[in-house]
Point group: none
Chain length 199, copies 2
């Protein structure tokens, strides 16, 4: 699930997670209503209702149509129904987390190959190596130019095999080198590795 999807889901819950608005949903599910009617039914002033409806229209949850002198508001029933289908499935929920902290597989790799700030052992699998390398490269600042000496100094805090790690980070395009100077490259890959948290 992309960040975008997470965001719109969050917005939906925010919108219906308000007493007045949830009641509006209920009222509109029964019958279309004008702003003034809703204000009467909810015992609120019109500006307040207008405000709520604006939020709901913004989401696509309600639609409005001008009829004579009033504006009739309807619930976009398909909106919520379509949403409910797979919304709360376990998979969907699990996807939520990816948009937050990177995926579960990466965390698992990190947990098994790291011990605190030390790399216990370098994974044999190419893909798992990448997870570790992405974790390691985070120890370097962007837009800082490191000498090979400084680079090794930092790597050594996490694992003794500085030569292999240095070369691998460059091979995987996490760092670049020119004339003996090294710098960190931007993460073109989407999800940065999550820090290891239980260890």
């Amino acid at each position: 699930m992309e960040q975008e999807e997470f965001e719109s889901l969050l917005q939906l819950f925010k919108v219906i997670g308000n007493e007045s608005r949830l009641r509006i949903v209920g009222l509109l599910a029964n019958q279309e209503r004008s702003v003034g009617e809703l204000a009467t039914l909810l015992d609120l002033k019109e500006p307040t209702v207008s405000h709520h409806l604006a939020l709901m229209k913004n989401l696509g949850l309600v639609t409005a149509e001008a009829v004579g002198n009033v504006r009739i508001h309807r619930l976009n029933a398909g909106f919520l129904e379509g949403m409910s289908k797979e919304l709360f499935s376990k998979e969907k929920l699990a996807d939520l987390a990816d948009s937050v902290t990177g995926d579960a597989r990466e965390r698992k790799v990190l947990r098994s190959f790291l011990d605190g700030q030390r790399i216990k052992e370098i994974p044999a699998q190419y893909k798992k190596q990448l997870v570790i390398l992405r974790w390691l490269v985070e120890k370097f600042e962007f837009s800082v130019r490191y000498s090979e000496r400084e680079l090794n100094e930092i790597i050594k805090q996490h694992h003794p095999d500085t030569a292999w790690l240095r070369r691998s980070m460059i091979d995987r395009k996490l760092m670049a080198r020119e004339k003996g100077v090294y710098w960190r490259l931007p993460d073109d890959a989407r999800s940065p590795a999550a820090d290891q948290v239980r260890g």
Copy 2:
């Protein structure tokens, strides 16, 4: 849909309508976590996470188990899944409106003096007491005859002062007693339905 159901639905949306908490849902859907882990992953302090988890536990959305020195939190997946199926069906939405018809003042009193199924504190004002008492009397069936013991049993689930509550319900004509047997009286004073508002 009962007032109560509306309320708990609203609470659910409130709880997951918050960025940090929605992320927690996502994280726990993948893997059980301690408070400290969540704090790290979310980049929040532990008290903050603790606060969020308390709200979620209160709803039954997550459960906690002490393991060694940490408390492991899990998502109650069935909770959301069970909810999602028919939750947003047209009929269900329409039912929401029934709970809208009640008096706004009453809802406010209920919200401030109740905590879930517990009465936090008995209001000092006579009118507010009535609101609470009407809520309490709904815990009893019509046309069932309760012994004083049974009556107290039920009242105690909501507040310890059974004597006062029992007497008050009778004073306010919500219940009747004869020869040590109690029964619920019909609501003669129903809240007036909202008048027709358009035309």
